[in-house]
Amino acid sequence: MRPYLVLVSGVAAIAGIVASVGIASAQEPKLAPEGRGLLPKPTETTPEGPTPAHPFYTDPSGSVSRTIFETEEDPNFRLVIRDFSFLPDRQPHTVTLPSGAFVHLLSGPGEISVAKKRLELAPGTRMAVPAGAPIEVMNNGEYPVVVRALIVEAK
């Protein structure tokens, strides 16, 4: 009900102003198009826009990941920062890293098991993962769970 009171009072106020100055224009401004409704979605054939610097991609194993940073400067080891994205599909997904890593949950929460040990992790949680220990993630939420791994690999 209230919006219509606003309408009436608004129109009355405008009418009062106009009547007080006693003018009217011969040339009518026209309304521009309004922004209503949703757009049709882009199709599969719609070309892609600008690619982000470090996009997630799906590897042959089906896991979704991206490499944020990688250095080859040291002759003995390689430092890699890699994000793993686990979709909200209520299915278990396992990632095994060949080297020791320090992992950091960027978004979630998620149900995570490291070396078969179940953990309840909230975003921001950090933990060390031994080399070869399987990281199993079940995402029962609505949004992807993203885990960032700082990996130190021997060359």
């Binding site: 209230r2 919006p3 219509y4 009171l5 606003v6 309408l7 009072s9 608004g10 129109v11 106020a13 405008i14 009418a15 102003i17 106009v18 009547a19 007080s20 100055v21 003018i23 009217a24 224009s25 009518e28 401004p29 026209k30 309304l31 521009a32 198009p33 309004e34 922004g35 209503r36 409704g37 949703l38 757009l39 979605k41 882009p42 719609t46 070309p47 892609e48 826009g49 600008p50 690619t51 982000p52 470090h54 996009p55 997630f56 991609y57 979704v64 991206r66 994000d83 994205s85 979709l87 909200p88 960027l106 978004s107 929460p109 909230a122 975003p123 921001g124 949004y143 992807p144 993203v146």
Partner: protein
């Protein structure tokens, strides 16, 4: 529910008695257009016409000189064919909207609205000048503008910087100065340093409302709303305080933005409260929470009593790392009801129901639980209000990747959000990445967007005015994943592919000054765009630069403006980027590399029998002619001479290669001589032996001054233009550096942006579009008898885009009594 504001607009259009009010609506009467602060121009104009926005260009500049006045941190308003804007230099300017001419300034020169207090970063306690965008009002039947500023009058707390509102007539007369509404005490150890720097006054009924905030939170002041009587400027009691009780010494919740109203409630947002701020992981924070605490809130108050009707506060005191609501509230009249929308500095955007303050949606929709609480809520840079285009909110916000990718991923981008979407998968409508080259891509890279008919305007920190078209009015061609860090082809649920927008137009401000900063906007009024830059210029941008490529022949009668009988049109193909003449020949170069020779029949368009095609190589970037010779320069530095056989492509026998040095950026020719300019300022003359590379005996070096930006040749003379506007003529002695006797100075006007020459004539183009012919007397400055003015069409000198500006430089070539021009 029928959208109320749209309903009102239609009603007005059906009733001629209400038409005058509608005409006022085509103005831009306050920050964000009107008191809804939606940033939307509802009426159609060239700016809502997708076919016309591509022809936008700079129509005028204030001041017209390259040196600006003080930085414009406020945004312009447009009323009754006048532009009003205050500057950091402490002056309020009134300009003619059609010409940019200064009509008056307040106060007169010599007594700016700045306090004496130099405390705070860059004196922001008292010396911040005018940052408050003005608002139009009727005061006692008189048209007026109102803005806030510090008052240097010693009666205003000693003139230290205490601020008040100023109401002026549209003729510049003072109606009233309000009571002081923000106090500064600059004495050592004192704390008060209130400001009304960023709040544009809100006029509602017989009251004027303005937000009060601090400078730099050192320490935070008590956030409040000051209200004065519209007719007198006297303070009206208004008990609202963001924290504690008004005047009780409690601190926090500054009102940093412009209040909005739907006619009943007054809406605004507030800043932080916690001292010191509390940062992640939020486990070592000090300070106690004031009570009540309406900091970090979106608030509706009663317009009369100041009582809080509702307060929406997503980030609690325990997470107060200074994520102010720097952006104000935008009232959205949508198909799903009246919503109040804004973004916090932490990158989360919200829409709440105007009636009760309940959250309608959050973006990204993390909820307000653990994931949200543990995220970063700090002093980050999402500070600009959104533009509300009916059901669509266009806003600089963090985006879907905000939590996982960090705070900065939304910088340099605009998101369009469907306010009435019933699922989060439909929330994102489109995304526009306006990072480099349009902006720096940093936190202050884009300003507050404005919109009309689905055409969006936003300024950037690199001085670009970017124009975007909603896909409902301009089909989009590309897609992104709604979470930008997944590719569209691998966009996992719940994210979805959305439209990716490219600019419809990109207009570069001639001074390259930021038109973004904290919350600057482009005002859209009567089919024109008005912006102020941090480099101290106000620009008017308008459509109608569609005569790009029009070629005119000078008939011998100096004149000015668009209706100029002294010029005959020979062609008007928008592809034309350069024209030159040699002997009796006129040539033009198209942007696709095609070269044409004029055969003597004026015509227009692609099918134009008056022009013969000589080449069509897309590498061609410049052509020159001299003594019946025609040359072209390729984008790889190769120089070619035309041998008389029209042809096309790389294997073109009609052209002989003379050099292939990638340093070459320009060529000039006259009277059998060919010259080239390198990107290091070196100038070379061709001696007649084709060659290639740096060790090329076929070229003799004449100068090596890195200031050189252009060369021209005619009548046995070679001229060069320096980047400071100095023009020099070669007298036959090769030399180098600034003290070079081989060159005679002819002029030193910093306005000069281009020179051209033909036969025995030398011409220069100024950045205001004026064209001058050299009469033979070297001189300097504006009053220079050695140059005769031939035209003063501003479309010649003001480059609407870098490409257009670049095109303007080689486009003007003289040939004896005939010169031609190609207005951009």
């Amino acid at each position: 529910m029928r959208p109320v504001l749209g309903w009102i607009a239609r009603l007005i259009l059906c009733n001629p008695v209400l038409m005058a009010a509608a005409h006022a609506q085509v103005d831009w009467q306050t920050y964000r257009h009107d008191s809804a602060r939606a940033g939307m121009q509802p009426f159609a104009s060239d700016l809502s016409n997708p076919a016309k926005v591509g022809t936008l260009g700079v129509g005028w500049s204030f001041p017209p000189t390259s040196n600006g006045v003080g930085a414009f941190l406020a945004s312009p308003i447009v009323v009754n064919d006048m532009v009003f804007i205050g500057s950091q230099d402490g002056y309020f300017y009134a300009l003619d909207a059609a010409t940019g001419q200064l009509k008056w300034q307040y106060p007169p020169p010599g007594n700016p609205l700045k306090g004496s207090c130099g405390q705070g970063g860059n004196g922001t306690w008292g010396q911040y000048g005018i940052r408050s965008s003005a608002t139009y009002a009727k005061i006692g039947g008189q048209d007026a503008v109102i803005f806030g500023a510090p008052d240097p009058d010693p009666r205003a707390d000693g003139g230290q910087g205490s601020a008040r509102l100023f109401a002026l007539t549209l003729g510049g007369g003072l109606i009233w100065k309000s009571d002081i509404v923000a106090h500064v005490d600059c004495r050592p150890g004192s704390v008060p340093h209130e400001r009304i720097a960023f709040s544009s006054p809100l006029v509602l009924g017989n009251k004027v409302y303005v937000g009060v905030h601090d400078a730099g939170d050192d320490p935070i002041q008590q956030g409040r709303v000051a209200v004065v009587d519209l007719s007198s400027g006297n303070l009206v009691p208004f008990p609202y305080a963001s924290t504690g009780t008004l005047g009780d010494g409690t601190r926090g919740g500054g009102v940093w933005n412009s209040l909005a109203t739907d006619g009943t409630g007054v809406y605004f947002t507030t800043g932080n409260t916690r001292i010191p701020p509390c940062f992640t992981p939020y486990n070592n924070c000090t300070g106690s929470e004031p009570s009540p605490n309406h900091g970090l809130s979106m608030i509706r108050v009663d317009k009369e009593t100041g009582n809080i009707a509702w307060s929406f506060k997503p980030v609690p005191f325990s997470r107060d790392g200074d994520p102010d609501w720097a952006a104000g509230a935008a009232i959205m009249s949508t198909s799903c009801g009246e919503l109040i929308a804004s973004v916090q500095k932490d990158g989360w955007s919200y829409a709440v129901n105007a009636g009760n303050g309940s959250m309608r949606w959050q973006f990204p929709s993390t909820g307000l639980g653990t994931a949200f609480l543990n995220a970063v809520h700090g002093d980050d840079d999402y500070k600009r209000p959104g533009a509300a285009w009916n059901d669509v909110l266009i806003i600089n916000t963090g985006g879907e990747s905000l939590v996982q990718d960090g705070i900065g991923k939304g910088y340099g981008k605009l998101h369009a959000l469907n306010a009435c979407a019933t699922t989060e998968q439909d929330r994102v409508r489109w995304i526009a990445d306006l990072g480099p080259p349009y902006s720096s891509g940093g936190g202050y890279s884009v300003g507050a967007p404005t919109v009309t008919g689905g055409i969006v305007f936003v300024g950037t920190d690199q001085g670009h005015l970017i124009v975007l078209g909603d896909p409902s009015v301009v089909p989009a061609a590309e897609k992104l994943c709604s979470n930008i860090h997944y590719s569209p082809s691998a966009c996992p649920p719940p994210y979805v592919p959305v439209w990716s927008l490219k600019p419809l137009a990109d207009v570069l401000m001639p001074d390259h000054g930021s038109i973004a900063w904290l919350r600057k906007e482009a005002a859209l009024a009567k089919g024109r765009v008005f912006v102020g830059t941090l480099n101290g210029h106000v620009y008017m941008i308008q459509s109608g630069f569609s005569d790009v490529g029009t070629i005119w022949r000078y008939t011998g009668t100096p004149c000015s403006g668009d209706s100029c009988p002294g010029w005959q049109m020979l062609d008007n193909n928008p592809k034309t980027i350069s024209i030159i003449s040699g002997g009796d020949q006129l040539f033009q170069l198209h942007n696709d590399g095609w070269i044409w020779r004029y055969t003597g029949t004026p015509c227009s368009g692609d099918s134009c029998p008056g022009w013969q095609r000589l080449d069509n190589n897309p590498k061609t970037v410049a052509i020159v002619a001299g003594d019946n010779q025609l040359y072209q320069l390729h984008n790889d530095g190769w120089i070619w001479r035309y041998t008389g056989t029209p042809c096309s492509g790389d294997s073109c026998p009609g052209w002989q290669r003379l050099d292939n040095n990638p340093k070459t950026v320009a060529i000039a020719a006259a009277d059998g001589n060919l010259f080239q300019l390198h990107n290091d300022g070196w100038i070379w003359r061709y001696t007649g032996t084709p060659c290639s590379g740096d060790s090329c005996p076929g070229w003799q070096r004449l100068d090596n001054n890195p200031k050189t930006v252009a060369i021209a040749a005619a009548g046995g003379n070679l001229f060069q233009l320096h980047n400071d506007g100095w023009i020099w003529r070669y007298n036959g002695t090769p030399c180098s550096g600034d003290s070079c006797p081989g060159w005679q100075r002819l002029d030193n006007n910093p306005k000069t942006v281009a020179i051209v020459a033909g036969d025995n004539q030398l011409y220069q183009l100024h950045n205001d579009g004026w064209i001058w012919r050299y009469t033979g007397t070297p001189c300097s400055g504006d009053s220079c008898p050695g140059w005769q003015r031939l035209d003063n069409n501003p479309t010649a000198g003001s480059g609407a885009t870098p490409a257009r500006r670049a095109a303007a430089i080689p486009a003007r070539v003289g040939s004896g009594s005939t010169i031609t021009r190609a207005p951009e």
